[in-house]
Protein backbone atom coordinates (compact mmCIF):
# COMPACT_ATOMS: atom_id res chain seq x y z
CA UNK A 1 0.00 0.00 0.00
CA UNK A 2 1.18 3.49 -0.75
CA UNK A 3 1.27 6.08 2.03
CA UNK A 4 -1.76 7.83 0.57
CA UNK A 5 -3.69 4.56 0.55
CA UNK A 6 -2.79 3.86 4.18
CA UNK A 7 -3.93 7.28 5.26
CA UNK A 8 -7.18 6.93 3.35
CA UNK A 9 -7.83 3.42 4.70
CA UNK A 10 -7.26 4.65 8.23
CA UNK A 11 -9.78 7.39 7.59
CA UNK A 12 -12.47 5.08 6.22
CA UNK A 13 -14.36 5.11 9.54
CA UNK A 14 -18.08 4.34 9.77
CA UNK A 15 -19.20 7.32 7.73
CA UNK A 16 -21.86 5.91 5.35
CA UNK A 17 -21.06 8.53 2.69
CA UNK A 18 -17.46 7.32 2.55
CA UNK A 19 -18.32 3.63 2.73
CA UNK A 20 -21.11 3.70 0.15
CA UNK A 21 -19.07 5.78 -2.31
CA UNK A 22 -16.27 3.24 -2.01
CA UNK A 23 -18.67 0.37 -2.74
CA UNK A 24 -20.11 2.22 -5.77
CA UNK A 25 -16.64 2.81 -7.19
CA UNK A 26 -15.67 -0.77 -6.52
CA UNK A 27 -18.73 -1.98 -8.44
CA UNK A 28 -17.79 0.06 -11.53
CA UNK A 29 -14.25 -1.28 -11.32
CA UNK A 30 -15.48 -4.85 -10.84
CA UNK A 31 -17.75 -4.65 -13.89
CA UNK A 32 -14.88 -3.35 -16.04
CA UNK A 33 -12.51 -6.08 -14.88
CA UNK A 34 -15.07 -8.83 -15.42
CA UNK A 35 -15.78 -7.58 -18.92
CA UNK A 36 -12.07 -7.52 -19.78
CA UNK A 37 -11.58 -11.05 -18.48
CA UNK A 38 -14.66 -12.51 -20.19
CA UNK A 39 -13.70 -10.82 -23.48
CA UNK A 40 -10.21 -12.22 -23.19
CA UNK A 41 -11.46 -15.70 -22.32
CA UNK A 42 -13.79 -15.77 -25.32
CA UNK A 43 -10.99 -14.50 -27.56
CA UNK A 44 -8.89 -17.45 -26.34
CA UNK A 45 -11.68 -19.84 -27.23
CA UNK A 46 -13.16 -20.52 -23.79
CA UNK A 47 -16.76 -21.75 -23.73
CA UNK A 48 -19.47 -19.96 -21.75
CA UNK A 49 -19.55 -23.02 -19.49
CA UNK A 50 -15.83 -22.76 -18.70
CA UNK A 51 -16.07 -19.04 -18.01
CA UNK A 52 -19.12 -19.52 -15.78
CA UNK A 53 -17.40 -22.22 -13.74
CA UNK A 54 -14.41 -20.06 -12.92
CA UNK A 55 -16.59 -17.01 -12.23
CA UNK A 56 -18.82 -19.26 -10.08
CA UNK A 57 -22.03 -18.14 -11.72
CA UNK A 58 -24.45 -20.03 -13.95
CA UNK A 59 -23.70 -20.42 -17.64
CA UNK A 60 -27.02 -18.68 -18.42
CA UNK A 61 -26.09 -15.69 -16.28
CA UNK A 62 -22.76 -15.06 -17.96
CA UNK A 63 -24.15 -15.71 -21.44
CA UNK A 64 -27.12 -13.40 -20.90
CA UNK A 65 -24.88 -10.63 -19.64
CA UNK A 66 -22.26 -10.80 -22.40
CA UNK A 67 -23.96 -12.24 -25.50
CA UNK A 68 -24.74 -8.71 -26.78
CA UNK A 69 -20.99 -8.20 -27.10
CA UNK A 70 -21.15 -10.45 -30.14
CA UNK A 71 -18.66 -13.17 -29.22
Amino acid sequence: MTDATKVAAAASSRDPAVGLAAVASLRVLLESLEELQVTNARAQGWSWQQIAEVLRVSRQAVHKKYRRFGF
Binding site: M1, A4, T5, A8, S12, A22, V28, L29, E31, S32
Partner: protein, 187 residues
Protein backbone atom coordinates in the same frame (compact mmCIF):
# COMPACT_ATOMS: atom_id res chain seq x y z
CA UNK B 1 -47.80 20.49 -21.41
CA UNK B 2 -45.76 21.46 -24.50
CA UNK B 3 -48.39 23.63 -26.22
CA UNK B 4 -47.06 26.85 -24.72
CA UNK B 5 -43.45 26.03 -25.49
CA UNK B 6 -41.65 28.29 -27.95
CA UNK B 7 -40.21 26.77 -31.11
CA UNK B 8 -36.67 26.89 -29.65
CA UNK B 9 -37.83 25.32 -26.41
CA UNK B 10 -39.36 22.41 -28.30
CA UNK B 11 -36.12 21.97 -30.24
CA UNK B 12 -34.18 21.83 -26.98
CA UNK B 13 -36.50 19.14 -25.60
CA UNK B 14 -36.18 17.10 -28.80
CA UNK B 15 -32.43 17.40 -29.10
CA UNK B 16 -31.99 16.55 -25.40
CA UNK B 17 -32.99 13.03 -26.43
CA UNK B 18 -30.25 13.03 -29.06
CA UNK B 19 -27.79 14.27 -26.47
CA UNK B 20 -28.77 11.45 -24.11
CA UNK B 21 -28.39 8.89 -26.89
CA UNK B 22 -25.00 10.19 -28.06
CA UNK B 23 -23.75 10.21 -24.51
CA UNK B 24 -25.03 6.68 -23.92
CA UNK B 25 -27.49 7.81 -21.27
CA UNK B 26 -30.34 5.48 -20.36
CA UNK B 27 -32.56 8.46 -19.54
CA UNK B 28 -32.79 12.10 -20.54
CA UNK B 29 -31.39 14.07 -17.64
CA UNK B 30 -31.00 17.73 -16.83
CA UNK B 31 -27.45 17.81 -18.22
CA UNK B 32 -28.78 16.63 -21.59
CA UNK B 33 -31.24 19.52 -21.64
CA UNK B 34 -28.35 21.83 -20.82
CA UNK B 35 -26.21 20.36 -23.60
CA UNK B 36 -29.08 20.68 -26.09
CA UNK B 37 -29.37 24.32 -25.08
CA UNK B 38 -25.75 25.33 -25.65
CA UNK B 39 -24.77 22.93 -28.45
CA UNK B 40 -27.83 23.26 -30.69
CA UNK B 41 -29.44 26.06 -32.65
CA UNK B 42 -29.08 29.62 -31.29
CA UNK B 43 -31.65 30.37 -28.58
CA UNK B 44 -32.19 32.88 -25.76
CA UNK B 45 -30.93 30.56 -23.00
CA UNK B 46 -27.67 29.99 -24.90
CA UNK B 47 -27.26 33.76 -25.19
CA UNK B 48 -27.79 34.22 -21.44
CA UNK B 49 -25.39 31.39 -20.62
CA UNK B 50 -22.74 32.71 -22.99
CA UNK B 51 -22.93 36.11 -21.27
CA UNK B 52 -22.28 34.26 -18.00
CA UNK B 53 -19.27 32.43 -19.43
CA UNK B 54 -20.91 29.06 -20.09
CA UNK B 55 -20.77 27.82 -23.69
CA UNK B 56 -20.92 24.52 -25.54
CA UNK B 57 -17.29 23.63 -24.92
CA UNK B 58 -17.63 24.21 -21.16
CA UNK B 59 -20.77 22.08 -20.88
CA UNK B 60 -19.33 19.34 -23.09
CA UNK B 61 -16.24 19.09 -20.91
CA UNK B 62 -18.29 19.04 -17.69
CA UNK B 63 -20.63 16.32 -18.94
CA UNK B 64 -17.62 14.32 -20.12
CA UNK B 65 -16.58 14.08 -16.50
CA UNK B 66 -19.88 12.44 -15.53
CA UNK B 67 -20.51 8.75 -16.15
CA UNK B 68 -23.28 7.92 -18.65
CA UNK B 69 -25.76 7.30 -15.84
CA UNK B 70 -24.86 10.66 -14.37
CA UNK B 71 -22.68 9.32 -11.58
CA UNK B 72 -18.94 9.96 -11.36
CA UNK B 73 -16.32 7.46 -12.69
CA UNK B 74 -14.60 5.04 -10.30
CA UNK B 75 -13.15 7.34 -7.75
CA UNK B 76 -9.52 6.69 -6.85
CA UNK B 77 -10.01 8.34 -3.48
CA UNK B 78 -13.08 6.28 -2.61
CA UNK B 79 -11.30 3.07 -3.61
CA UNK B 80 -8.29 4.07 -1.55
CA UNK B 81 -10.48 3.91 1.58
CA UNK B 82 -10.73 0.17 0.86
CA UNK B 83 -6.98 -0.10 0.36
CA UNK B 84 -7.36 -0.36 -3.41
CA UNK B 85 -4.92 1.67 -5.46
CA UNK B 86 -6.76 2.46 -8.71
CA UNK B 87 -3.57 3.60 -10.45
CA UNK B 88 -1.94 0.29 -9.63
CA UNK B 89 -4.98 -1.68 -10.86
CA UNK B 90 -4.94 0.35 -14.08
CA UNK B 91 -1.21 -0.30 -14.51
CA UNK B 92 -1.67 -4.07 -14.11
CA UNK B 93 -4.64 -4.15 -16.48
CA UNK B 94 -2.80 -2.13 -19.11
CA UNK B 95 0.18 -4.46 -18.88
CA UNK B 96 -2.07 -7.35 -19.87
CA UNK B 97 -4.60 -5.71 -22.17
CA UNK B 98 -2.99 -2.52 -23.48
CA UNK B 99 -3.12 1.19 -22.83
CA UNK B 100 -6.52 2.55 -21.79
CA UNK B 101 -8.04 -0.95 -21.55
CA UNK B 102 -9.86 -0.23 -18.29
CA UNK B 103 -11.54 2.88 -19.68
CA UNK B 104 -12.43 1.21 -22.98
CA UNK B 105 -14.79 -1.38 -21.45
CA UNK B 106 -18.53 -0.98 -22.00
CA UNK B 107 -18.96 -1.07 -18.25
CA UNK B 108 -16.80 2.06 -18.01
CA UNK B 109 -18.29 3.81 -21.03
CA UNK B 110 -21.90 2.80 -20.57
CA UNK B 111 -23.82 1.21 -23.42
CA UNK B 112 -25.59 3.12 -26.15
CA UNK B 113 -29.35 2.86 -25.62
CA UNK B 114 -31.80 2.21 -28.44
CA UNK B 115 -35.36 3.33 -28.99
CA UNK B 116 -37.27 5.64 -26.72
CA UNK B 117 -35.33 7.23 -23.89
CA UNK B 118 -37.48 8.46 -20.99
CA UNK B 119 -37.01 11.70 -19.06
CA UNK B 120 -35.71 11.09 -15.57
CA UNK B 121 -37.25 12.76 -12.53
CA UNK B 122 -34.81 15.66 -12.55
CA UNK B 123 -35.45 16.50 -16.21
CA UNK B 124 -39.23 16.32 -15.69
CA UNK B 125 -38.82 18.62 -12.75
CA UNK B 126 -36.86 21.09 -14.92
CA UNK B 127 -39.76 21.28 -17.39
CA UNK B 128 -42.36 21.68 -14.62
CA UNK B 129 -40.31 24.41 -13.02
CA UNK B 130 -39.89 26.10 -16.42
CA UNK B 131 -43.67 26.52 -16.52
CA UNK B 132 -43.68 27.86 -12.99
CA UNK B 133 -40.86 30.31 -13.79
CA UNK B 134 -42.75 31.61 -16.83
CA UNK B 135 -45.89 32.14 -14.71
CA UNK B 136 -43.90 33.82 -11.99
CA UNK B 137 -42.39 36.29 -14.46
CA UNK B 138 -45.86 36.73 -16.06
CA UNK B 139 -44.55 35.60 -19.44
CA UNK B 140 -47.21 34.06 -21.66
CA UNK B 141 -44.94 31.42 -23.21
CA UNK B 142 -42.33 28.90 -22.10
CA UNK B 143 -38.99 29.54 -23.76
CA UNK B 144 -35.50 28.11 -23.42
CA UNK B 145 -34.81 30.89 -20.91
CA UNK B 146 -37.50 29.47 -18.62
CA UNK B 147 -36.11 25.97 -19.04
CA UNK B 148 -32.77 27.41 -17.96
CA UNK B 149 -34.38 28.90 -14.84
CA UNK B 150 -36.09 25.57 -14.10
CA UNK B 151 -32.68 23.94 -14.32
CA UNK B 152 -31.23 26.26 -11.71
CA UNK B 153 -33.40 24.86 -8.91
CA UNK B 154 -31.39 22.56 -6.68
CA UNK B 155 -33.48 19.39 -6.99
CA UNK B 156 -33.05 18.89 -10.73
CA UNK B 157 -29.68 17.15 -11.04
CA UNK B 158 -26.28 17.56 -12.63
CA UNK B 159 -27.10 20.63 -14.77
CA UNK B 160 -27.67 22.71 -11.66
CA UNK B 161 -24.37 21.53 -10.21
CA UNK B 162 -22.48 22.25 -13.41
CA UNK B 163 -23.99 25.74 -13.65
CA UNK B 164 -23.46 26.49 -9.96
CA UNK B 165 -19.80 25.52 -10.29
CA UNK B 166 -19.55 28.22 -12.97
CA UNK B 167 -21.23 30.81 -10.79
CA UNK B 168 -24.64 30.69 -12.49
CA UNK B 169 -27.37 31.01 -9.85
CA UNK B 170 -31.15 31.25 -9.93
CA UNK B 171 -31.82 34.76 -8.62
CA UNK B 172 -29.32 36.61 -10.80
CA UNK B 173 -30.32 34.66 -13.91
CA UNK B 174 -34.01 35.36 -13.26
CA UNK B 175 -33.27 39.10 -13.39
CA UNK B 176 -31.33 38.71 -16.66
CA UNK B 177 -34.13 36.65 -18.23
CA UNK B 178 -36.82 39.10 -17.19
CA UNK B 179 -34.85 41.99 -18.68
CA UNK B 180 -34.23 40.03 -21.86
CA UNK B 181 -37.91 39.18 -22.37
CA UNK B 182 -39.11 42.68 -21.52
CA UNK B 183 -36.53 44.09 -23.94
CA UNK B 184 -37.90 41.82 -26.69
CA UNK B 185 -41.49 42.79 -25.96
CA UNK B 186 -40.61 46.52 -25.90
CA UNK B 187 -38.52 46.26 -29.07
Amino acid sequence: MFERFSHEARLVVVSAQEQARERAGDSIRSEHLLAAMVLGRPNPAAVVLKSLGVDGAVVDAEIGRLRPDGSPPPDAEALATLGIDLDEVRRQVEEAFGLGALERTRAARGRAPRGHIPFDRGAKKVLELALREALRLKHNFIGTEHILLGMLHSETGAAQQILASHGVGLDATRVIVDELVRGQQAG
